[in-house]
């Protein structure tokens, strides 16, 4: 329990702030499709060229090799500056990249990490399946070894940014004899391979970020396997650990910006019962305060996760606590706009801008990366040591 930031760190913070203020794109980020990919990649490239990409990644792979504190400072300043969400870069920067750093071979790191930082390639995830949902151990997409290739057949679903991705972290069954979670492998799939077909799925927000992908005898070189063949479960757990821990720090910072905006609007808008300012209505003020406390807790819990990560290589199950706190809060914050502004907040591109979009899009946090129910199971069993049920 102490201040971590040294005077040197604070200098770093000031440089970051200065650069961000001058360089954050002011144009609106497109809602989906190739335009959005281009926007995200261009912005990543600009960060890379100015030396702000991969702050805590190893220097051998074009990272900056700085301590996690600097990475965290960057995130804070990034959010403060109102920089756009990392979007299509998310899996590469927060998921696949960190996984390759701890579990990948030298060749994997050389080949893939710099391309992520430079904004050259978009990654997507490939864990969930139509039949399996949150039940990773029951995956059926199969990889049959033929010579020096895996031949993959099956289907993955809910692949965010899948329609615009180049590469995929694919979890497949390479052995059907071994127990459920012991026959899986984590493999890098080039989505431009023959036999890959992609069906975009429209989300409830009306935009298309994810898709279903079919694999029909897709040939993947055996050297694309990360970790051991049939050893994919532990690699996947590491991946999910990054997602649960600090992987979503950017989204959390963003939520806190939305929260601040909500309080600001409550000071500017007239109140629901004729008050001059909405915040003068006690009911509104009380709800805002409750939300603000929960957003504060989310940030504090993330700080704790960062502190834990500095002491361990692969994050543990504690990250699920952060995810659980985040999962429902994001909807509550965005949903409050309707209480504050009523029908006006309904309008897309109206005075409330992206609020209705963000509200609807926020439902993904209750579902993605394992539903909240699965997270509660994981906390109960892995963190608290409660017994598994017979079912």
């Amino acid at each position: 329990m102490r201040l971590l930031e040294t005077p040197d760190d604070t200098d770093f913070r000031h440089s970051a702030r200065e650069w961000l203020d001058a360089n954050v794109p002011r144009e609106k980020r497109p809602h989906d499709g190739w335009e959005q990919r281009e926007f995200d990649l261009t912005w990543q490239k600009r960060q890379y060229e100015a030396g702000w990409a991969g702050i805590s990644w190893p220097t051998e792979y074009d990272g900056k090799g700085l301590p996690l504190v600097r990475q965290a400072i960057w995130h804070e300043e990034y959010a403060r500056a109102g920089a756009p969400q990392i979007g299509a870069m998310f899996i590469g920067l927060s998921h696949a990249g960190p996984t390759l750093i701890v579990k990948g071979s030298e060749e994997h790191k050389q080949r893939y990490l710099p391309a992520i930082l430079k904004g050259e390639e978009v990654w997507c995830q490939g864990f969930s399946e139509p039949g399996a949902g949150s039940d990773l151990a029951s995956l059926t997409t199969s990889g049959r070894i033929e010579d020096d290739h895996l031949v993959v057949n099956g289907s993955k679903i809910w692949t965010t940014y899948g329609p615009v991705a180049d590469l995929q972290e694919l979890l497949i069954r390479t052995s059907s004899e071994k127990p459920r979670h012991k026959g899986l492998s984590w493999v890098i799939c080039d989505l431009r391979s023959e036999g890959v077909s992609i069906r975009p799925i429209k989300a409830m927000s009306g935009y298309t970020h994810f898709c279903q992908i079919h694999y029909d005898d897709v040939r993947i070189p055996i050297e694309n396997v990360v970790g051991d063949i049939d050893g994919g479960w532990s690699v996947a757990m590491a991946t999910l650990g990054f997602e649960r821990g600090t992987g979503t720090i950017g989204h959390q910072m963003e939520l806190s910006r939305w929260m601040d905006q909500l309080v600001r609007m409550a000071r500017e808008l007239p109140g629901p019962c004729g008050e001059e300012r909405a915040i003068d209505n006690g009911e509104v003020a009380g709800q805002l305060a409750r939300l603000k406390a929960d957003v504060a807790a989310l940030q504090a819990m993330t700080s704790m996760a960062i502190a834990r990560n500095m002491r361990q290589e692969v994050p543990g199950a504690e990250g699920n606590l952060v995810a659980l706190q985040f999962g429902e809060l994001v909807r509550r914050v965005h949903g409050f706009a309707f209480e504050l502004a009523g029908n006006e907040a309904f309008e897309r591109d109206g005075p409330w801008g992206d609020w209705p979009y963000e509200y609807l899009d926020g439902f993904k946090w209750g579902i993605g990366g394992g539903t909240l129910e699965i997270r509660r199971n994981t906390i109960g069993e892995r963190l608290l040591g409660l017994p598994k049920g017979r079912s």
Binding site: M204, N281, F338
Partner: protein, 328 residues
């Protein structure tokens, strides 16, 4: 006062006939097709809706209505909610109490206007219009006054895109002075509150039904997900919220019928039904997992419509004040 909240045989007949018709001709699933949005599907079967006697159902026969009561209209409203029927139908039902019931029974249509912003209203109000493109009249309900306008009285008409894309939205300005009819008092406002509550109770019930059906069918970890307590208990809470919304709406309706309307009880119904609809719609999305998050499933439709109806004609902070009888 002892009320029977179950339906009488006659009331069950209304429920079965309207519910059956809507499930058959305007089922929720129609909204998967964009061609059926913005009341287009409703307009195609409008003649049949008038034949069912929906418009003027609770209006005295002497005033050109069918001569049933608010109770039967509340039953119809629930069925409208369950199938997410356009607010155009509900608005026309309300208009039949305000204007000439005979005309609406003959096919005239009315749409809701609802204030865009919260707070106190002046003589000129900026409003949203809901599914108004094929209606002749506009109904505006304020807590102390109900007004009917010709469509031509609308100024500054502009279409807007909103969160619930299945309902057509426009912005416009309305001037009190331009009203064709204006009735003081809260009676019509409160009756409409009960109808909207009942619509919302219908959405709450539909969300519960949809979740239960999916949970009984979808398998994960080797059994239907409805066998897991997390899902089962979520469904049980959905059933409780739907029941609370239904019972309170019926109770407040029965009080009104007994000529002892209770403004606080009506506000309670509106709050419980609104919260029930939104919470159940969210829980239904959650039960559906990834599928619930898509535009391809029906779950999101319930959520968006629930928010729309909750925002109609007022806001939560006002509701809370009405419940404890501390209006400013």
């Amino acid at each position: 006062m002892i009320l029977d909240l179950m339906l009488s045989d006659e009331q069950e007949l209304v429920q079965d006939s309207t519910g059956g018709f809507l499930a058959d001709r305007l089922p929720l699933e129609r909204l998967r097709e964009e061609a059926n949005w913005q009341a287009d599907a409703e307009i195609l079967v409008w003649d049949e809706l008038t034949e069912l006697g929906l418009f003027g159902l609770g209006v005295e026969e002497s005033r050109g209505g069918i001569g049933m009561s608010l109770a039967e209209e509340v039953i119809v409203a629930q069925a409208l909610g369950e199938q997410l029927v356009s607010p155009l139908v509900l608005a026309t039902m309300v208009a039949a109490h305000l204007g000439d019931a005979g005309e609406y029974a003959a096919g005239r249509r009315a749409s809701f206007a609802t204030p865009v912003r919260r707070g106190k209203y002046g003589e000129r109000i900026e409003v949203h219009l809901l599914d108004s493109k094929a209606s002749e009249d506009i109904v505006l309900l304020l807590p102390d006054r109900a007004m009917l306008f010709d469509r031509s009285a609308l100024a500054d008409l502009t279409p807007v895109a909103t969160m619930d894309e299945t309902v057509g939205f426009e912005r416009a300005t309305l001037d009190h002075a331009a009203a064709r009819l204006s009735v003081e008092g809260s009676r019509l406002f409160e009756q409409a509150e009960l109808l909207i509550s009942s619509c919302l109770a219908g959405i709450a019930q539909q969300a519960c039904n949809m979740a239960v059906a999916y949970a009984g069918m979808r398998e994960q970890f080797g059994q239907p997900i409805g066998a897991f307590q997390a899902v089962k208990h979520s469904c049980a809470e959905m059933a409780r919220r739907a029941e609370a919304a239904l019972c309170q709406t019926r109770l407040a309706t029965a009080q009104s019928l007994a000529d002892t309307p209770d403004s606080s009880a009506i506000a309670c119904a509106r709050l419980l039904a609104g919260d029930g609809a939104i919470e159940n719609a969210k829980a239904n999305i959650q039960v559906h997992g990834g599928m619930g998050f898509t535009f391809e499933a029906n779950a999101h439709l319930l959520l968006k419509r629930a928010h729309l109806l909750v925002s109609l004609n007022g806001n939560r902070a006002q509701l809370l004040q009405r419940i404890i009888g501390e209006e400013e």
